[in-house]
């Protein structure tokens, strides 16, 4: 027995379902996973009356219960299985009133599965504007279930809906109205019913029509169903299409009685805006302009809060260091844990800003136009217009970007998108780019207004972008697929972004980043601390004594830096660095850079932190000019040349553009592709690409 009743929100994409979810649950929501799949499961709680709380489950938007993508599959999986822990006690079907006919299709299908339902007519204001009025009382009488009027954006009608949910949970009225089926279909139903004990006719027929998609049945039952289908020569496609046509006929009949349409057809604002935004020249100019604006603001606006976080973490660290005894445990806490957490927190502003922009683009309806604009261009590179969203998002972080590739229906397009997305420069590469560019690119203006460092930075981003396209193009030929891909999608009307919704998206993405990526980064920081603090036998202590003996006149602070440096050299990390040195010397790196490469293997952002530890900047580690100066003065002991020469720095930059140095990304690719095959291929191809390119650039420049 479940202790809480579950109310599921269902509806077409763009029907205002997520607005309603936020209105009902406020901040009382959490994101989990549906068992077995990685589709985000949004759950919230809503107080209906003084004593009654219900669980609100936000199911992915879909046009019917016949899924075309992974997200949509969840809807079928949940609704077709009354034993599913998420099976709702009540379904609230959110319908766009300005498009009621199409929205009713899903409603009818859900109702026929036997789920008690409420029909929520949303966006009545939009409907009214286009001259549509709906008699919801009459509609409710015809359907036999409650029909509620709603404006989820403005929060109008929410209390009424809560009240109706409360009542419907007591009465659980259903609306069962399946279309008439032919004789063959009826026999199939009888057989499924007797073998599987499914009384509901429409549900039983779904067993037959979509057996392969109903994972909960298990292999044996799926096989049994296939036999039934074969025996009766049951054509699932035909069943679906005649069902759809039949339902639409029935819906039209119903709607004729309740909908009054005053045919005022004029060119809508959306059509006017589309003339400009999809213009063959202006369309692209505006898109590029928007992208440019996003990057400019992400990097400039985010700077101040990032500095603030940086200083805040440093302050906490200082406070802990000065108020706690100086021992190994405190060192683990401060240099390991707090530093690690700081490395996670510092990316929050950039991620928040980038997702703010992305969510505004999505909210306003512009993203769908970008998909249209880019589809033909990007199709040449083995992807779909829908890949644009992941590619843009991955400039913040590849992890959510790869997850957003789920909307791509074709497996091949989706796989290629997943495989090339990490080549786009994410925000974790930014600190590496910034510091190395500052070392070797002069801070001067070219042509009067281009800042050379800015140009170099942009060049690295473009390099990532073009290599992603190239990789996609190559994979297009390597991957064979007979699967048909569909592009068809709805173009939502332009809307003012709902700021609350934008806020929710930011919160959600930041939370995911902090907890998902954060876990890894913190773990690595601790491991790194251990490896850098301990060494085989007592080599570290001996080296430390030697330094003190050699430099009797040095000031305490300088001596401390020197000690830190030799300690590192003799630690496990130092030994690792020396061990891989032969392999990375052709790229222009020494063992110290080797340590940074190894540690940043789990997460690139560790690089700058490691480098700052290695070159023993100690207390001033947070001060970037000091790191820069120190790196600039660092001299290779063997050649006598600066370690961070132009060749080495560019080699490192190129290496980080291509290298797959992010455990979180590999983990998410593993989850999304359900196996180790693709993440391993991705790791190998990106590593090879990084090594070869870095080698080439180093040899060319030195």
């Amino acid at each position: 027995m479940k202790n809480k009743q579950v109310v599921a929100l269902l509806g077409n994409p763009n029907s205002g379902k997520s607005s309603l979810f936020n209105q009902l649950t406020g901040l009382r929501q959490k994101i989990g996973n549906f068992p077995g799949v990685t589709v985000d499961k949004k759950v919230g709680f809503c107080r209906l009356s003084g004593s009654m709380d219900v669980e609100i489950l936000d199911l992915p938007g879909t046009y019917s219960i016949y899924p075309n993508s992974l997200d949509e599959q969840v809807v079928l999986e949940v609704l077709a299985n009354p034993k599913n822990p998420d099976y709702p006690d009540l379904a609230v079907v959110v319908a766009d009133a300005s498009n009621l006919k199409r929205n009713m299709l899903l409603f009818e299908q859900i109702s026929d599965l036997g789920v008690p339902a409420i029909l929520a007519l949303n966006m009545l204001d939009v409907a009214e504007e286009s001259g549509i009025s709906i008699n919801s009382g009459k509609l409710s009488k015809i359907l036999g279930i409650p029909v509620v009027e709603l404006n989820a954006r403005e929060g109008i009608g929410i209390e009424g809906l809560k009240h109706t949910i409360f009542n419907q949970l007591q009465h659980k009225k259903t609306h069962i109205n399946p279309p008439s089926f032919d004789k063959k279909t009826e026999t199939v139903f009888e057989e499924v019913k007797s073998k599987f004990g499914v009384e509901n006719k429409y549900l039983a027929l779904q067993y037959a029509a979509q057996a392969q998609k109903l994972m909960f049945l298990g292999e044996n039952q799926q096989k049994d169903l296939e036999e039934i289908v074969k025996k009766h020569n049951f054509n699932a496609d035909k069943f679906q299409s005649s069902e759809t046509i039949e339902r639409y006929r029935d819906i039209s009949g119903t709607l004729e009685e309740v909908v009054i349409e005053e045919g005022v057809k004029k060119e809508t604002i959306t059509e006017k805006i589309d003339h400009i935004l999809l213009h063959k020249i202006w369309g692209y100019v505006i898109f590029l302009g928007i992208l440019f604006l996003i990057f400019q603001s992400v990097f400039t606006i985010a700077e101040a809060p990032m500095d603030l976080i940086d200083q805040g973490v440093a302050m906490v660290n200082d406070f802990l260091k000065s108020n706690l005894p100086d021992n190994q445990l405190v060192s683990l806490l401060t240099d390991g844990l707090v530093a690690g957490i700081g490395g996670v927190l510092i990316f929050i502003p950039q991620i928040a800003f980038l997702f703010a922009f992305i969510s505004i683009l999505e909210e306003s309806g512009y993203m769908a136009r970008v998909v249209v604009l880019m589809d033909k261009l990007i199709r040449r590179f083995g992807m779909s217009g829908k890949s644009v969203v992941p590619l843009i998002s991955s400039m913040a972080c590849a992890v959510p970007a790869i997850m957003s590739a789920r909307t791509i229906g074709s497996w091949k397009d989706r796989l290629i998108t997943i495989m090339v997305t990490p080549l786009m420069s994410c925000s974790a590469r930014l600190p590496i780019y910034t510091i190395l560019i500052a070392l070797v690119v002069p801070n001067t203006k070219a042509l009067g207004f281009f800042n050379m460092q800015g140009v170099a930075l942009m060049g690295l981003y473009l390099l990532g972008f073009f290599s992603a396209l190239l990789a996609g193009w190559l994979m297009k030929f390597m991957l064979k697929s007979n699967e048909r891909s569909y592009f068809i999608m709805e173009l939502p009307t332009y809307k003012k972004p709902r700021w609350k919704q934008v806020g929710f998206t930011i919160l959600e993405k930041v939370k995911t980043f902090v907890f998902e990526a954060g876990k890894v980064i913190v773990a690595i920081s601790i491991v790194l601390w251990v490896l850098a603090s301990y060494g085989p036998s007592d080599k570290i202590e001996q080296a430390e004594k030697a330094v003190i003996a050699q430099n009797p006149t040095l000031e305490q602070s300088q001596l401390d830096s020197k000690i830190a440096s030799v300690r590192l050299e003799n630690s496990y990390a130092g030994h690792f660095g020396k061990f891989i040195e032969p392999a990375i010397r052709p790229l222009g790196y020494d063992w110290k850079i080797g340590i940074a490469l190894i540690t940043s293997f789990a997460a690139r952002e560790v690089f700058v932190g490691t480098v700052s530890t290695i070159y023993s900047i100690g207390a001033d580690a947070e001060n970037e000019t000091t790191i820069k100066e120190r790196l600039r003065n660092e001299v290779n002991a063997e050649t006598g040349q600066p370690t961070f020469s132009v060749a080495t720095s560019f080699s490192l930059l190129i290496f980080y553009v291509f290298a797959m140095m992010c455990m979180s990304t590999l983990a998410v690719v593993y989850r999304e592709t359900k196996g180790w095959k693709w993440p391993i291929i991705q790791l190998v191809y990106m590593s090879v690409l990084a090594y070869v390119s870095a080698f080439a650039i180093y040899q060319f420049l030195s």
Partner: protein, 75 residues
């Protein structure tokens, strides 16, 4: 025999009535999106590079590739 006219043959702004679909798998998707036989369909725009195209059917806008539009036969 004259080739059937499809949505892909329409000019921007032109209208037609859906007759039937050439491709079964594609038709399922179109049907559920509300592209039913005997419904009016109009071509709103052709994307800058000639594909995808935008259509209005039953009062809302869809975007689909030219190849997909060519499976919708109009009267």
């Amino acid at each position: 025999m004259q080739a059937e006219k499809t949505v892909a043959d329409l000019k921007v702004g032109e209208k037609g009535i859906i007759n039937h679909f050439k491709d079964d798998a594609m038709s399922l998707k179109l049907l559920e999106m509300g592209c039913l036989p005997d419904t009016e369909i109009s071509l709103d725009f052709i994307a800058p590079l000639g594909c995808p195209v935008g259509i209005t059917v039953a009062g809302y806008h869809l975007s689909l590739r030219k190849r997909e539009a060519a499976t919708i036969v109009i009267k």
